[in-house]
Symmetry: C2
Subunit: 210 residues, 2 copies
């Protein structure tokens, strides 16, 4: 095992450090965030930081990229101004298009058209979902907590609706991600698919699993 | 595709809703959090909410489970009282032990001994790492932001040191997770391993990948 202290890490080239630190948390969720600006311009961007926050009420969270003078963050601006967005799971059939959405397109250009994905609208909900995604979630923006340490935001949102394929749903509510080819991200740019190991029962102290 | 609105979701049995909502974000990171109480009692617990927050400075975040009257949250209490903890990637060789750490052991019982994993201490750092983990990270606790919507906390921490295997590191700093058998979680209890699809170049608007 190699050992590296923070001081050494900070002395490495910036790109090396970015790749290394981005790999440390393990596999990351790969999701496309769909929004519309107040003027009606569509936006689509890949995020690797979507997390489950809780089921009662149904909440999800995500981390924005750092804000800096002159930097535009279209997804976050749209969430705040319209109060709505969608989360769409990336799968093995659309991961290249999803990755391409990370390019810096201008505000006027829709990433849907640029990368070749179709917007899908649920009636009465203003933010576009990704028609090709197997899990599509409509959310109401609740709050953006500033993370002062690096000028990012932790965004909290409540689930308004979900579209999902019946055949991936287990009787107990669990969704079998390998049946819908869900993709995962490692680091900044490495795409994976999941291979099921095992589903384990609820753990109890007096009943070790081993 | 099936469609479900929040009202219908809230009307489902609590366990069904927990499973369903936990599956929506896609694959989740699987990490063991190692801590020591102020009295020197070791604690180990699996978390599926560890996220990358930024590389400059190197920051990671995670979400606690809900706080409620009478509920003990040993990991978070220890982080706050000692200011230190470790994050250890779960891999295919230890996922059963990692899952077993989610059982409600008493404060006096060390999950290391109970599930069969070895604590490892870096000199001068008070929180135990998991000797069997292929990626071990020492962190300094910075802040716990209350998520008022469901009584959880978003914890922010800075990386102090990392232990990693030389053979998994690419020249540019990226860690090849499939070389170290990193595991992922889906929902509450479903374990996966990653199968590499592709590493994609930095995306640019004028250079579509497709």
């Amino acid at each position: 095992m190699e050992f590296i202290k923070e001081e050494e890490l900070l002395a490495r080239p910036k790109d090396w450090r970015t790749q290394f630190v981005n790999s440390l948390s393990g596999y990351k969720s790969a999701n496309l965030i769909g929004t519309c600006s107040a003027e009606g311009l569509e936006n689509l961007a890949i995020f690797s930081s979507v997390v489950h926050l809780g089921a009662h009420p149904p909440l999800m969270g995500l981390v924005s990229r750092p804000f800096a003078p002159g930097v535009e963050r279209h997804s976050v601006e749209n969430m705040r101004s319209t109060g709505q967005f969608t989360i769409n799971q990336v799968h093995t059939g659309i991961y290249k298009q999803a990755h391409q959405s990370s390019a810096r397109y201008s505000r006027e250009e829709s990433e849907f058209a640029a990368v070749g994905l179709q917007p899908f609208y649920v009636e009465g909900f203003g933010a576009p979902a990704v028609a090709e995604a197997h899990i599509q979630i409509g959310l109401r923006f609740l709050e953006a907590k500033p993370i002062e340490q690096n000028n990012t935001l932790f965004i909290i949102a409540e689930i308004d609706w979900v579209r999902y394929p019946r055949e991936a749903l287990a009787d107990d509510g669990h969704i079998l991600l390998h049946k819908i080819d869900t993709a995962a991200l490692a680091g900044l740019d490495s795409y994976y698919q999941g291979q099921a190991l095992e589903r384990l029962p609820y753990a109890k102290p007096d009943k070790p699993l081993l």
